[in-house]
Amino acid sequence: MTLRRRLTVLIIAVALLALAGSWTVLRAVQASRLGHRAAADDPRIEPGPVTLGPAAGGPRLVFRSMTWGDHRDELGSAPLADPAGTRTVAAPTCLRFHAAAGTGICLQAVHGLLEDTYRAIVLDADLHERRHYDLAGIPTRARVSPSGHLVAWTVFVGGDSYAGTDFSTRTTVLDTTTWTLQEDLESYAVTLDGKPYRAVDTNVWGVTFADDRHFYATLATGGRTHLVAGDAVDHTLTTLHDNVECPSLSPDGTRIAYKKRVPGLSEDAPWRLYVLDLRSMAETATTEERAIDDQALWLDDRTLAYALPGDDGTDLWTVPADGTGAPVLLAAAALAPAVVR
C-alpha cells in the first residue's frame, strides 16, 4: 500500500470510530435519562423538612433515598413504624449516610469540571453543614458514635496506572467536639493474636462505635480479615475474631452483626450475614441467604436492616438477629439507613 492509501484508510477509520463513539455516548446519555424516571410503584416522596433530632410521632428511619427524579440521593425520612410509606426528602444528596444524637455524616460526590471528587459533611440536626472534609477516594462506610460526638468514614483509594490494581481503604475518625481528625486508622498500633503486628498491607474499614472511645472495625492483612477492638484515645487495634467484615454493634453492646466470607459461595458474592456474640464468641447465621455487601444496622436489639440490590439501586431489608424468622422488605429504593429517636 502506498502512504496515501494507508492514510486514506486511517482517516476513514478515524471518522467511522469517531461516529461509533459519539453514537455510543449519545445512546448512553439517552439511556441514563430514560432510566432515571421514577417508576409507578416507587415509594411516594414529598419534599419537606427532615430532622436528625427527636421528632413528634416517634422514631424515624432516615436514609439515602434512591427513587429516580429530582430528589434522587437526597435524605429521605419515614416513620420507623411504616418505612415503606410516603417519605419526606430534603437536601443534601449523599452516597453514604449515618446519624445519631442529632449529628449526621453525609459522604457525597462533588461533580467537578473534569472529575468527581468526594467529601464528608458533618450535619447538625437540621441538616445544615457544620464542617466538611475532602476525601481521598470513593466513599463506602460511615458511622456516628451513639453520643453523636465521634464520626468515622471509610473510602476506597486507587484507580491509577501508577498504583496498579492495588486498591486500598482509608478509614478516618473525627471528633466533632474538638474537630480533631485521625486521618488513617492504619497508623494505629495493631495487636494480632496477642502479638504486636505491623505490615504495609493492612487495611481498616467499617468502624462501629461502642462509645466515644471504643469501637470495632475490620482489619485486613495477609489475605485475612479480623474483627478488631479499637481505642480512639490510645490509638490501638486488637484482633478479637477472624473472618469478620463490616461489623455493626448492637445497641446493647453485646453482639456484632457482620459479613462473613463463607467457603463454597461464588467469588463475587462470598458473604453471608452473621451475628457474633461478643461474650461467647458464638456465631449465628441469619436466615438471609442472599449475598450481602453492606454494614448492617440494628433497628433495635433484635432486628437487623441491610441493603440488597433492587430496581432503583438498592432496597432495605430486615431479618431477626437471632437466626429465626425470614427476611422482609423494609423500604424500596433506599440505602445507608439510621434510626433517629
Binding site: L3, A136, D160, Y162, A163, G164, S168, V200, E267
Partner: protein
C-alpha cells in the same frame, strides 16, 4: 557506527530518512509508535480510572484483593517480555508482528470488560491485558532503537515516553467527560475505550514499517539468544539495571510514604501520581536530548541519584508538607525521565540489531525483577521495623547501587567503544 548512507532505500512509507542535514528530525517510525502508545494509553487509562467506581457503584463489589495478584502478574509480565523480545528477533525482525499481537490482545480486553461482570472475570481480563503489555514492550522498544541512529536514541525514546505519558494523562479525563454526560454510563466508557484501542492497533498496522532490520549483517548471523549474556557491555547494563532496581521502591510505596511522612491531607493522595507524570511528560524529551549529549549511561545513573535525593528528603523532612511533597514528586518525575526510556536507549547500544528485542527485554526484565524483589524487601522491612527503617535501608542500598553502577557504567574507553560498535 551507523551511517546515513548505509540505510536501506526508503521503500517503506515510514522508513527513517535521516541524513546529516536533518539532524533534529525524529524518525517517522518513532512518531508512529509514539502515537500508538498514546492512543493505547488513552484507552487503557480510561478503563483503569473508572474501574474502582464501576466495581463499587455499578457492580456493588469491593475492589480490595485485586492487589494480591499484582506481584504474580508482574512476574508473569516480565517473563512474557523476554518471550516477546525473542519472538520479535526471529526471521530478521518480526518485531511488528509481535507488537501487533500484544497491542491486539490488550485491545480485545476492552470489549471483554463489557461481558465480565464478576470480580474473578474482571481480574482475568486485567491479567490478559498485562500479557499483551508484556509481549509488546520489547519489540516496540527494539523498533524505536532500530529506526534511530545511536547518537539520537535518547531523544527518540524521550519523545516516545512523553507521548505515552500524554496518553495516560488524557485517558481519565475522557472517561470522566463521558460519565459526566451519561451518569452511570460505564459501558459507554468501555465501548469508547474499545474503539480507541482498535484505532491504536490500526495505526500500528498502517504506519509502522514491517521489517525493522535494515539488513542482516553477516557479523551477527548467529542470533542465538544464549550468546547475549556473553556480551560484557550488555551484562554490565543488565547487572546495573537489576541492582538499581533492587533499591527502587514501587510508586505506590513512594506515594504512601509521601503522604504518611509529610502528613499530607488525604484528598491529595489521588493527585500524587499526576505530579510525577506531569514532570515526566515535561522532561522526557529534554532529558533524552541531554542524555545523547553527555552520555546515556551517565544520565541513567544520575536519574537514580535524583531518586536517592527524593528518599533523602523523605527521610530528613526539611520543611513543611506541600513544598516538600512538590520537591519529592519533581525528583520522582526526573528519575523517570532520566531512566525509563534512557535505559532502553543505553541497552540498545550494547546489543546487535539481530538480537535487539531479546537484549532490551533482558535488561527490562532484570530491572523488573530487581524492583519486584525490592517490593518484597520493603514490605518485610516495613512490617518488622516500620517505614523509617525501610526507607533508610533502601537509601543505603541505592547509594551503594549508584556507586557500583557509576564504576561499572563509567566512561571507560573500552566500554565506550563497545557501546558504539553495535
Amino acid at each position: 557506527m551507523y551511517l546515513a548512507d548505509s540505510r536501506r532505500p526508503a521503500a517503506s512509507a515510514a522508513a527513517p530518512a535521516l541524513g546529516p542535514g536533518r539532524a533534529a528530525r525524529i524518525a517517522p517510525t518513532v512518531l508512529a509508535l509514539g502515537t500508538v502508545s498514546l492512543i493505547t494509553d488513552v484507552s487503557s487509562e480510561m478503563v483503569t480510572a473508572v474501574l474502582p467506581l464501576y466495581l463499587v457503584t455499578a457492580l456493588g463489589v469491593t475492589p480490595l484483593g485485586f492487589g494480591l495478584l499484582d506481584g504474580v502478574l508482574n512476574g508473569a509480565s516480565a517473563a512474557l517480555r523476554l518471550l516477546g523480545g525473542l519472538l520479535g528477533d526471529r526471521g530478521g525482525g518480526r518485531h511488528k508482528a509481535v507488537a501487533t499481537a500484544g497491542y491486539g490482545l490488550s485491545a480485545l480486553c476492552r470489549p471483554a470488560l463489557l461481558l465480565a461482570r464478576t470480580t474473578p472475570l474482571i481480574g482475568l481480563v486485567l491479567a490478559v491485558d498485562r500479557v499483551g503489555k508484556g509481549l509488546r514492550t520489547a519489540p516496540r522498544d527494539a523498533m524505536i532503537s532500530l529506526a534511530t541512529p545511536p547518537e539520537r536514541r535518547g531523544r527518540a525514546f524521550g519523545v516516545h515516553r512523553a507521548m505515552d505519558t500524554a496518553g495516560a494523562l488524557t485517558g481519565p479525563l475522557l472517561a470522566f467527560l463521558i460519565l459526566r454526560a451519561a451518569p452511570g454510563g460505564f459501558h459507554a466508557v468501555f465501548t469508547v475505550s474499545s474503539y480507541v484501542a482498535a484505532l491504536g492497533v490500526l495505526v500500528l498496522v498502517l504506519l509502522v514499517p514491517g521489517r525493522s532490520l535494515r539488513s542482516t549483517p553477516a557479523r551477527t548471523a548467529r542470533p542465538r539468544s544464549r550468546g547475549l549474556l556473553r556480551r560484557p557491555a550488555l551484562r554490565r547494563i543488565t547487572a546495573c539495571a537489576s541492582l538499581l532496581g533492587l533499591a527502587t521502591v514501587s510508586d505506590s510505596f513512594l506515594y504512601l510514604l509521601l503522604q504518611r511522612r509529610l502528613e499530607l491531607p488525604a484528598a491529595w493522595f489521588p493527585l500524587l501520581p499526576l505530579g510525577t507524570a506531569a514532570v515526566y511528560l515535561l522532561l522526557a524529551v529534554p532529558v533524552g536530548t541531554l542524555a545523547d549529549r553527555i552520555g546515556r549511561r551517565r544520565l541513567f545513573v544520575l536519574g537514580h541519584a535524583a531518586l536517592l535525593a527524593a528518599y533523602a528528603l523523605l527521610l530528613v523532612r526539611p520543611g513543611a508538607g506541600a513544598p516538600l511533597a512538590a520537591a519529592v514528586l519533581a525528583l520522582h518525575g526526573i528519575f523517570y525521565a532520566a531512566t525509563d526510556g534512557i535505559l532502553a536507549a543505553t541497552a540498545a547500544g550494547a546489543v546487535p540489531e539481530a538480537q535487539r528485542g531479546a537484549g532490551l527485554a533482558l535488561v527490562g526484565t532484570g530491572q523488573a525483577a530487581g524492583r519486584f524483589a525490592c517490593s518484597l524487601a520493603v514490605g518485610a522491612l516495613w512490617s518488622r521495623w516500620g517505614d523509617t527503617t525501610a526507607l533508610a535501608v533502601m537509601a543505603v542500598a541505592l547509594t551503594a547501587a549508584v556507586a557500583i553502577a557509576t564504576r561499572l557504567l563509567g566512561p571507560h574507553p573500552e566500554h565506550r567503544r563497545r557501546e558504539e560498535t553495535s
